[in-house]
Symmetry: C2
Subunit: 459 residues, 2 copies
């Protein structure tokens, strides 16, 4: 028997996690190590110091420490907007007439509009603690840039954000909000870096990609005195910080005596998905439980479902270390009509490994279906979801419909990563029926795969 | 001794109010009655039935019932996004280095982005319960239009929104979000109504006003079969519904063993202010306590601080009943450079009466100061506030600074009515230092006052 479930369950401050959980500590097989692209040799923690601040480099490499204390300064800022609510989707259930019980962990109730703030705070804090002069980063849809601008403003740290040009032009107000928090915004590719100039010379009309923006941000960081680069997804450190989502969700679900049969997250670089599933994946790794776990990605950028599990650059300009991950090739750029986020060419190495080893499943969906689910959700749950989050909504609705057919009362948990206030251009295009879908052809992908790096003795 | 105060205090569902509180039941002197503009005679409840649905007409006139049960259907939808948090502004206090304790009740965590949803749900529910075919309304900055679109979508009721043209052009995404919830949006003044055509003929370049939009919405309602008109502020019924804000705030403050010395709300038509202060004003009316209560309004639209306490039309087209209130004259239109909301020419008759009788104070502030406070608040509290709400923030900061000078540890409570996601044009203009202030001259106001209606034997 489950307890009476409120619409929204908020933990108290005392119940909030005091430690992050490091999934790698419980993985029997580890993700493959980062490689130096010049030598093909694994990197040591110190090799990352020119790019990342030291504590973050340590977290990136540390596969041993199971629970990492969250510094009090970070918990202090978490308390301003956390805990995020665990919401029972009663109205959605009613509209679908499903026996399924649908829960979502809603991370959108902060000004960045998404879960990205959880890692932004941590990264800005460690940078400040090391006495850095400033940070650089990239942003796609703009959630990460906003989050990091908030965090840097809070810790009084200068920030330069390279924003994917397509998003920059589609979302002028994102730029405004990032600037409100005092950061500088540069559309990418730009003429301000060598990597940007090179990409522009090769492809003058490009709308950019996360990969391009990363190249520029990394270059800017390593060429500016006492600056470092930070990234909002993909990295092991980011999944560590984002575990706060799943840890809170699990405490709340436990209070309700609920255990999800299915856990669903949207997946771009994997930061939300990795965070949401963390404690449930632990149960799976330890053989304690076996929930189904789904990554949902855009059909226009299908790294897990159609990518290669291979070593690749994390950026388009090929300046970063090599990571083994599911990838579409670092030169892959989603078609210009792609409206949502989740546009990264690769996937978190941790999640890639777990997927490769059969611990989770993946599926992809076209954007018109995503927006159909988004509007349906908004009308019933009165939250306007981000297009990213709506990938998970779509899958949750599919699963709830299946339950209606079979009569099963499954418990579904999904991550509602953020709000769609800055995505109204895309919503308008969907409502006006001018939105179209583009699924890359096999030839498109083969062209991108052909650019994968050759590493003697490895691939 | 006060208890340890968390950053955010959320009531549980069980603690949420089951009744609204009707301030009029405790007012020794009542606001003056609505008058028929043709006869100058007071209106009866039935006279309002052509405009408002019957239950809302009843609530508008009912000065007797102290506590009104909130129907279960409304409480059901409240539970989707309420309770709203009571937040202790620790970071703001720290940044101001003030001994004051600052609390705010944050109503922005719903897709409408503001407190307006509290009354929208009630009004849509009663309209649906009466079997109406649809609703019309006006919206200024767009928060009310969004809120009502959400509520109408939830209760499956058609809706037409007349949006002040200036806002419509400044905030294209507001239109998109209202349409996402299935409502129709028409910029006002428009050619779709007689009132709109008349206003356009007289002043073709006008950016519109709430008063114009109300005229059009009322006309559209009374000329469409089985439609009624709804309004997001000013009315007694709206203050009734919004009392949920103050009731929740008081329960939470009581739990913390705190009682505010100063309560601050921004004031346009008075919906948030009237709701926030309701239970504290009750204490004041009953002689139980005597907190200072402040209405903060834009210097560009100063109805309380520079208006006349007089009978006036609620709209520009002069089709509504006459209400006695602080007013700038129904023809008053704020200067085109006015960026925030709070642009209504009048003020809630209940609040007008309380102000007139000395139960509350008012002050006004220029918009550049408002945005300065908004950016300062955002950087410290990580919430991007609506310009409307930022009027209250400005005053709270002023009071906290005074406490620093005097060393007093006052407890300040203010209403953070909403978020500023749709106000980035204004933020950008502030950051680029192209925002200017305009304070109406005495001559401007005299011209507007000259248009106040003449009512034989009354004014």
């Amino acid at each position: 028997m489950s307890k009476k479930v409120p619409y929204r369950l908020y933990l108290t401050e005392d119940q909030m996690p005091k430690q992050w959980y490091n999934l790698r500590a419980d993985m029997k097989e580890q993700p493959d190590p980062l490689l130096n692209p010049g030598t093909g040799k694994p990197l040591a923690e110190q090799d990352l110091y020119p790019i990342f601040c030291e504590e973050l480099a340590h977290q990136e490499m540390d596969a041993e420490t199971r629970y990492v204390d969250i510094p009090e300064e970070i918990r202090e800022m978490y308390r301003i907007y956390r805990p995020s609510p665990l919401i029972r989707a009663y109205q959605l259930e009613k509209a679908l007439d499903t026996p399924a019980k649908i829960y979502y962990k809603f991370e959108g109730n902060n000004t960045s509009g998404s879960h990205k703030l959880n890692s932004a705070i941590a990264q800005a804090y460690y940078a400040k603690a090391q006495g850095l002069a400033g940070l650089t980063t990239e942003t796609g849809a703009g959630q990460w840039g906003t989050a990091l601008a908030e965090a840097c403003s809070y810790f009084n740290l200068p920030l330069t954000v390279f924003m994917v040009k397509g998003s920059y032009e589609q979302k002028p107000f994102r730029k405004a909000i990032i600037e409100t928090f005092g950061a500088e915004v540069i559309p990418s590719p730009s003429n301000t870096t060598e990597a940007g100039r090179k990409i522009l010379a090769e492809n003058p009309g490009t709308t950019g990609s996360l990969g391009c923006a990363i190249s520029e941000a990394v270059e800017k960081a390593v060429t500016s005195p006492n600056y470092r680069y930070v990234l909002g997804s993909v990295l092991n450190q980011v999944l560590l910080h984002q575990s706060v989502i799943g840890l809170e969700a699990k405490i709340a679900m436990d209070m309700l005596e609920e255990y999800p049969d299915i856990i669903i997250g949207c997946a771009g670089g994997g930061s939300n998905l990795g965070g949401l599933i963390a404690p449930y994946m632990q149960d799976k790794l330890l053989g304690k439980a076996n929930p189904e776990i789904y990554a949902v990605e855009p059909a226009s950028c299908p790294s897990l479902t159609r990518g290669r599990y291979a070593y690749d650059f994390c950026d388009t300009g090929k300046v970063t270390p090599l990571a083994r991950m599911y990838t579409l090739g670092c030169g892959f750029i989603p078609s210009a009509n792609h409206a949502g986020g989740l546009r990264y060419h690769g996937m978190s190495p941790i999640l890639s490994k777990l997927y490769h080893d059969g611990y989770m499943k993946a599926c992809s969906v076209e954007q018109t279906k995503v927006f159909e689910a988004a509007v349906f959700f908004a009308k019933n749950e009165t939250i306007l979801p981000a297009p990213e989050s709506s990938h998970a909504i779509w899958k949750a609705i599919e699963e709830a419909k299946k339950c209606k057919e079979t009569g099963e009362q499954k418990t579904i948990l999904f991550g509602l990563t953020g709000t769609g206030y800055f995505d109204m251009t895309a919503y308008t295009s969907y409502l006006a029926q001018t939105m179209s879908d583009y699924i890359p052809t096999d030839e498109d992908l083969e062209r991108a795969f052909a650019q994968l790096p050759k590493i003697p003795g490895i691939q």
